[in-house]
């Protein structure tokens, strides 16, 4: 299996993500430059955090038009696994691969802190190694993480089981106090209807080793690897 980490001008979590896949999970991984037009041969592609194109116009708005995103869109449409972390989530929304958008945090502050998130669903390739209802400690670092969509879209996300992570307190309760940015329904991460594209604001790659204070994020990368191992076995 092969992982790809896309590098946009302004990405700054690309090396952290690469490190977790290569050294913690122990799987092959390449950087993919934003001008690349071909992503053949990859099994999972990660859009990392950062400030692609300086967040000009809107977060993710310019990155969405880079050559690599056309290839990533085709890759996603044909069932490839795509994970967007933080700025990557914003890019996936701008590209229309995930519904909704991310607004300025309701208190206008940039939040850089560990938060608790609850795993709502384990029936995605990104969460099979978690337990449903498990509370994770994972850092966030964003100024625009306030998830918004229209009422119908929210209803569809809820009924389709597409809300994968929610901000919660340390006991797993979904409260307004535990919502760091004002996201609708305390949403921290969602997937598409086909469940092969997931975006989340928290940074699992910053919580993959004990030395960083939490290793709750590592199971997301192991989930992808385990899912791909099964899929490749079936194909063989």
């Amino acid at each position: 299996m092969k992982f790809g980490v896309v590098v946009f001008p302004g990405s700054n979590c690309d090396h952290d993500t690469y490190h977790v896949i290569s050294k913690v999970v122990g799987q092959p991984v390449n950087f993919i430059w934003h001008k690349e037009e071909n992503v053949e041969g990859y099994d999972a592609i990660i859009l990392p955090g950062g400030f692609s194109y300086g967040d000009y116009l809107r977060t993710g708005a310019i990155a969405r038009f880079s050559p690599v995103m056309r290839a990533v869109t085709n890759f996603a449409r044909s069932g490839g696994l795509v994970l967007g972390i933080c700025n990557g989530f914003q890019i996936l929304c701008e590209a229309g691969l995930l519904p909704g958008g991310l607004l300025r945090n309701r208190d206008l502050k940039f939040h850089c802190e560990h938060v608790s998130i609850r795993v709502e669903r384990t029936d995605t390739p990104f969460t099979i190694d978690y337990r449903e209802g498990e509370v994770l400690s994972i850092p966030i670092a964003h100024g625009e993480g306030n998830y918004f969509c229209d009422e119908q879209t929210l209803a569809d996300l809820e009924s389709g089981g597409q809300v994968i992570f929610r901000y919660c307190d340390i006991d797993g309760r979904i409260t307004d106090e535990a919502n760091p940015n004002g996201s609708l329904g305390n949403i921290a991460g969602i997937c598409n209807r086909e469940r092969n594209v997931l975006g989340l604001m928290p940074h699992p790659e910053r919580a993959a080793e004990s030395v960083l204070g939490s290793r709750d994020g590592r199971a997301m990368f192991f989930s992808i690897a385990d899912y791909l191992t099964e899929r490749l076995k079936k194909r063989a």
């Binding site: 958008g101 607004l103 208190d107 206008l108 004002g182």
Partner: protein, 81 residues
């Protein structure tokens, strides 16, 4: 020829920046300011050989696809000769 594009948040979309500006206006003491919504304004220089309706079609598409995110924003286009 000039296109002016105004991008504003849709009604019902929280605008914390507008709220902060409104709060500042109240603190300073401006009278009668009931609400502030922040948006974006673009000036786009167009090739004068474009016909008006062609220019409008082109800029409307640009506004829809790039300048605004229709999930959260509205846009309005003006063409000025």
């Amino acid at each position: 020829m000039l296109a002016k594009v105004y991008v504003t948040l849709k009604t019902g979309v929280l605008d914390p920046q507008g709220k902060a500006i409104h709060h500042a206006a109240e603190t300073i003491g401006y009278q009668g300011i009931e609400d502030v919504r922040q948006g974006k304004y673009f000036e786009i220089r167009l090739n004068p050989s474009l016909a008006d309706d062609q220019a409008r079609t082109e800029v409307e598409k640009f506004a829809h696809d790039v300048l605004a995110n229709p999930v959260i924003e509205n846009y309005r286009v003006e063409i000025v000769r």
